[in-house]
């Protein structure tokens, strides 16, 4: 079985993002970029499935500009067999990404597509679900446990009420939650090896994907700041303050 893994590059999760004063965007020049943390978890899970003999090939897929190649090399160094780079300089929204993924799915015929549950830049939490819909296949979102046997995936999902277990016939789309696994670190020899692994480059325009019907982002703003609070000296003072506000 082949596994396709969505592998997005985002502003590193430790970076405190700044909104441009003119409201046209956020400052991304010179800011550290990394793999979306949920996508690292997706890749780790795919690699573990290959190590268990469930999968034979793990392919990382990225959509972005020419310099995304370096990011895909990280995925190869982590252990993916090969990479597909869909080249575009446009910002790609979830529906467009899902449509592009569907084209790759039709070509590659994977048994499983693993994606992060959300990207930490747009926080959309949509692409996996949209791909599953367009592909007309099962989806298992927010996965914290994944077992594959007998042509189906048994997935434990993190839902608001607790943990839900579902069965999905393969092929299917699974999106990863934080507690699915702990991604491995990349070792130096693997970085060298990754240099010889193949990256297929596909021009976005050649996929024949409709890229219209975007949401237009008209303004960016910093969130409203909370007013500066006060430090209290002990429990008694805290209780008095909360009682005064009618909270206790």
């Amino acid at each position: 079985m082949k596994i396709l893994v969505g592998y997005k590059r985002v502003v590193d999760y430790n970076v405190r993002i700044q909104v441009k004063p003119d409201g046209t965007g956020v400052v991304t020049d010179g800011v550290k970029l990394s793999a979306n943390p949920f996508d690292d978890i997706a890749l780790e899970e795919a690699l573990r499935l290959r190590e268990k003999g469930v999968a034979t090939e793990v392919v990382v897929v990225g959509i972005g500009p020419a310099d995304l190649t370096a990011h895909l090399r990280n995925g190869l160094a982590m252990g993916a067999n090969r990479a597909i780079h869909v080249v575009t300089t446009d910002a790609v929204q979830p529906l467009t990404a899902a449509r592009a993924f569907l084209k790759l799915v039709e070509k590659e015929q994977p048994g499983l597509v693993l994606m992060g549950k959300q990207a930490i830049d747009d926080d959309a939490n949509q692409t996996g679900q949209m791909l599953a819909a367009l592909w007309d296949r099962p989806q298992a979102t927010f996965a914290s446990k994944l077992e594959i046997a007998d042509g189906k995936a048994t997935v434990t999902r993190e839902v608001d009420a607790g943990l839900e277990v579902i069965e999905a016939e393969l092929p299917a789309v699974v999106t990863t939650d934080l507690r699915l696994n702990e991604p491995r670190f990349i070792k130096l020899p693997d970085i060298m090896k990754a240099k010889s692994k193949p990256i297929d480059t596909i021009e976005f325009d050649s996929l024949g994907v409709e890229a219209h019907d975007h949401l237009a982002t008209t303004h960016y703003a910093a969130p409203a700041k909370r007013s500066k609070g006060v430090m209290v000296k002990d429990a008694a003072e805290l209780v008095a303050a909360l009682k005064q506000k009618g909270l206790l």
Partner: protein, 314 residues
């Protein structure tokens, strides 16, 4: 003119209060009608609750055995079919809505607006990105239906009471897939207030130190009638189950009082509590980032302070 379809979330025959919050967002669009869609095996109890929400024009029900569990693959084709004639489809931004709405949007061939914080116009909405560190205004194409999830922490629940909207059964001719099956739901049983709708929340973090120590958080929360939450660190360390996690990747809440005990306040955690009315931080590290957002801060040993708080309240 706008007509809005709100997807009802429910479990064990009870309507989730997040639904009434999505109705509030629908009211803000000033539509000519707000219909609530209930998909279930037994629809009656949930439909009656939905009909009592103020602002709801009609409750539409689809009672099918396949709808016994909220599987997105099964519900989405029905919602997409029912969405014909509506200008907007809203779902709460809970794990239910996040799972279902994008699948509906893709079936309708439209972009989705996630986590609507405010309505700026019939097709313009504000939503958070980068863990809430930026707020964007997005405009959807007015030529298509708008599919959106509603950030529950940003909206009050629409009042429920004397209003009684008519309930109509909807006949949808849709073939449903059998490729996805429900197995079980493992629920933490709790008599405490629900984290997402509680007016007071007491959260513990890594500083609490162990699962056993977390009992003091539960005890204190019970004393003031609060729900219990936790940071990702506390969940990952196994102190509490995952459904208590508050933050970017857990629950986003807006209680009147939020008490963060032994939580340093990573960006991802702060995202989940920024809209709380009053934030109290108790931490031994006076430099912890949580103090930057706290209305009241107290530096010291949490075990000693919680004991003292309980004594003060006795």
């Amino acid at each position: 003119m706008s007509k809005i379809l709100v997807i009802a979330e429910h479990l064990h025959g009870k309507l989730n209060p997040a639904t009434a919050r999505a109705v509030s967002a629908a009211v803000a669009v000033k539509p000519e009608a707000i219909d609530v869609l209930v998909l279930a095996d037994n629809v009656d109890a949930v439909a009656a609750e939905a009909a009592a929400i103020e602002g709801v024009s009609r409750v539409l029900t689809v009672a099918r055995a396949e709808n016994a569990h909220a599987l997105a693959a099964v519900l989405a084709p029905q919602v997409a079919k029912a969405a014909g004639g509506y200008s907007h489809v809203f779902a709460p931004s809970t794990t239910f809505g996040k799972d279902l709405a994008p699948r509906v949007a893709a079936l309708l061939g439209v972009a989705q607006v996630s986590d609507v914080m405010s309505v700026e116009g019939a097709h313009a909405f504000k939503r958070p990105i980068y863990a809430g560190n930026a707020i964007v205004t997005v405009e959807a194409n007015p030529a298509h239906a708008v599919v959106a999830t509603i950030r529950t922490a940003s909206w009050p629940a629409a009042a429920s009471g004397d209003s009684k909207a008519p309930v109509e059964a909807l006949a949808l001719d849709v073939a449903l897939p059998s490729h996805t099956r429900f197995v079980e739901l493992q629920q933490g049983s709790s008599d405490r207030p629900d984290l997402q709708s509680a007016s007071k929340v007491v959260s513990g973090g890594r500083g609490v130190g162990s699962k056993e120590n977390f009992e003091i958080i539960y005890k204190f929360a019970d004393k003031i009638g609060a729900a219990v939450g936790a940071s990702r660190a506390a969940v990952d360390a196994g102190y509490v189950p995952n459904e208590l996690q508050v933050g970017q990747t857990g629950k986003i809440i807006a209680p009147e009082l939020y008490m963060a005990i032994g939580i340093s306040g990573a960006i991802q955690h702060l995202t989940g509590i920024k809209d709380a009315g009053t934030i109290v931080a108790i931490n031994k590290d006076g430099e912890a980032p949580i103090f930057e957002v706290a209305d009241f801060g107290l530096v010291g040993d949490l075990f000693k302070i919680v004991d003292e708080l309980e004594a003060e309240l006795s």
